[in-house]
């Protein structure tokens, strides 16, 4: 019976089957190809590029080739060859108008050095040996060993320096990793604050959304539809409009404060600052992210028949025990999905904290935006974003370990 099965026209059955399936697979591939391409172009590529940028910056090495080569070849202090390389590179960069780029790169690590490069480059065409003296004549700061230490560091295009900076660390002149001075430590605290605030927002969302979702799932159709529209209404309104209406409500001269003053709850000089601080961020973001909590909860609660609660009651459980032991555990997939969704959205939120957060209500994404748009330190922005991404992935992994990702119900 070891005979090979064949089709009617004599081809082996296996080959025929594979051919038939291959056709179907090819067709399926062409159907998903546009999406695949889209995802690659708009998602994988930019993230990959960001990750590369966070560890790679050739602002120095590309424009100072001689000095970079010298650093690679000589571990010790600067000799005449090094000064010559520096001078010639500066001459070239003056011609190519790249001294600003080089200066900016060094400036990231040692502030106040950008102008040293640009001003020296302007005088560079007159440099002649001995170069050390010529350079020192242009600016005596060139003799600073810290500067040379930094230049050695930045001559390497690939470095972890931006990640160090994102963790409030830096390398000193001889390359050991140290914490930056206290007054310049911002990122770690901001990461902590971002995660704490996102946690608080997730929790308030959960507390507010749970009863609403329960109502949505149990009210008669007529009322639950109305409630659903109210829940979805924010989705149909511009995010900016929603945020600015919170500004109208929350400011010190705003609606809520005015009402409280009018009602005599607080005095005219006791107006509460509910905006341009963390409170504002929490209130506005809770409101904006609430639907993302309600909807997964609702979709889970909708599937829980009331007979479970009734069964528990008939078996002798009080309503609290019934909630705790029967209802709550069955809504866990919804709680997990909603919390994960809200937390991850909150951790990366930008517009709302930027508008209502003031100085103390800023999140890490606001700082990333700052480095993208104002300080133009894209590598640092990329490093911060990469750390954020990694932390979120860790969180996701933890969730999978603790609750199980297959327990996630998003709708």
């Amino acid at each position: 019976m070891a005979e090979i099965l064949t089709t009617a026209d004599g081809r082996p059955l296996k080959a025929a089957l594979q051919a038939a399936q291959a056709r179907a697979k090819r067709r399926a591939f062409w159907l998903v190809a546009p999406l695949l391409l889209f995802v690659l172009l708009t998602f994988v590529a930019p993230i990959g590029q960001m990750l590369v940028r966070s560890a790679h910056n050739d602002g120095f090495s590309a424009h100072m080739p001689r000095l970079t080569a010298w650093f690679a070849a000589n571990p010790g202090a600067a000799d005449d060859a090094a000064w010559e390389a520096l001078a010639l590179d500066l001459q070239d960069s003056a011609v190519a108008k790249t001294s600003g780029i080089v200066g900016t790169r060094v400036n990231y690590e040692l502030s106040g050095t950008r102008s040293l490069f640009t001003s020296t480059a302007r005088k560079a065409k007159d440099f002649a040996p001995p170069y050390r003296e010529a350079l020192l004549k242009a600016d005596k700061d060139w003799d600073d060993p810290a500067l040379w230490g930094v230049m050695r560091q930045v001559s390497q295009a690939y470095s972890g320096n931006f990640f160090l900076a994102a963790a409030d660390l830096a390398r000193d002149a001889d390359g050991t990793i140290v914490q930056v001075p206290e007054d310049r430590r911002v990122y770690v605290n901001l990461f902590v604050k971002t995660f704490v605030l996102a946690g608080v927002i997730t929790l308030t969302c959960l507390i507010l959304a749970y009863p609403v979702a329960h109502l949505l799932a149990t009210l008669p159709m007529r009322w639950s539809n109305l409630l659903m529209i109210l829940v979805l209404l924010p989705f149909w309104t511009s995010l900016l409009v929603r945020t600015t209406s919170w500004m109208v409500l929350l400011q010190q001269q705003g609606v809520i404060n005015n009402m409280m003053v009018a009602a005599g709850i607080i005095g005219e000089d006791g107006r509460i600052a509910m905006m341009y601080n963390q409170t504002g961020t929490i209130i506005a973001m809770t409101h904006i992210l609430l639907p993302f909590m309600i909807l997964p909860l609702y979709s889970v609660m909708k599937t829980i028949p009331p007979s479970y609660a009734r069964a528990a009651r008939s078996l002798g459980a009080t309503s609290w025990t019934t909630f705790r032991r029967i209802y709550l555990p069955q809504t866990l997939p919804g709680i997990g999905a909603g919390s994960l969704l809200v937390f991850i959205l909150a951790v990366g939120y930008y517009i709302t904290p930027a508008l209502v957060g003031g100085a103390s209500g800023q999140l890490i994404s606001n700082l990333i935006a700052f480095h993208m748009q104002d300080s133009l330190n894209w590598s640092l922005a990329a490093a911060l974003a990469a750390i954020l991404l990694a932390l979120v992935l860790v969180l996701y992994w933890l969730y999978d370990r603790l609750i199980g990702i297959d327990n996630l119900k998003l709708g």
């Binding site: 479970y308 009734r310 002798g316 459980a317």
Partner: protein
Amino acid sequence: MGNPDLAAAQKAEAFVVFDRVQKSYDGETLVVKDLNLSLPKGEFLTMLGPSGSGKTTCLMMLAGFETATHGEILLDGRPINNIPPHKRGIGMVFQNYALFPHMTVAENLSFPLEVRGLGRAAREEKITRALDMVKMGAFANRRPAQLSGGQQQRIALARALVFQPELVLMDEPLGALDKQLREHMQFEITRLAHDLGITTVYVTHDQTEALTMSDRVAVFNDGVIQQLAPPAELYEKPQNSFVAQFIGENNTLEGVVAEMGDGTCVVRLDDGGLIDAVPVNVTRVGERTRVSIRPERVEMNAARLQPGAHTLKAVVREFIYMGDIFRTRLSVAGNDEFIIKTRNAPDALRLEPGAEIDIGWLPQDCRALDA
């Protein structure tokens, strides 16, 4: 309820009493209208009725998930309208079983014991006993989703019994099972209920189930108990047309009371034929009535009828061979759906379609009911 003292005594003895209970969900229509019912301890009572007749509503009021709009429900002599559901100590089996999906079978059974504060050892002993009782001992660590419908049903039963309630309510517990399993479970449930001496209120709309399982059956229609009687009485002595139609197969003929005798009457059918019947819901000559005869009580052999009994002419329309019985469809007095059933005995007549025969019956088998 002629004698108020007797009624009061019955009520005091009864374990469950519905006393003039009414229920409305919307304030416009009564879903349960004036329900009076009392169950002695240990009785197996079935509520039988078409969909929407208010059976589940009655159970829910008893279990405490709905409140009676009017009237009182007594459990062991105490009014329970104000006792919350978890303090009523009533075991309940739901139509969809309602086994907690996030708990194993053992945890499901443990739940009612935990909330009663039982220790671990006592719990385990009771769980084992309850699982053995329904022959599911090997499944203690499964989740409900890993059980078949019949197995889930047995676990639901075990869970309702594990805390030894004196009263158990079951709402169409066998609705989802196939015929064979259903018959098996019917037997098991009645056996358990009798062995443990539990008072049971069982809801179904399967009349065979009601007849085979119960001590008494309450036939519901339109929020009213149409008849409350033991199965045999219900089948043989239906009190009104609804019960006669609803329980078992039934032939009806319409007519007017022509003569009233002592315990018998003669009915003139609409086509002029005369038949003998027992007056049940008719009291005077000239009243319209609907008479009901069971298909197996119709007699074709004139020799077996009482002398002087009235007979009717019938035309055979269809003969169906069903193995153990023959089912013959006739046209009688304008009714083309008149069915008779005869046992497949060696001498049984096999009628050909088109044949004309005379049929009759014993007067006590034919009941003159409301029109």
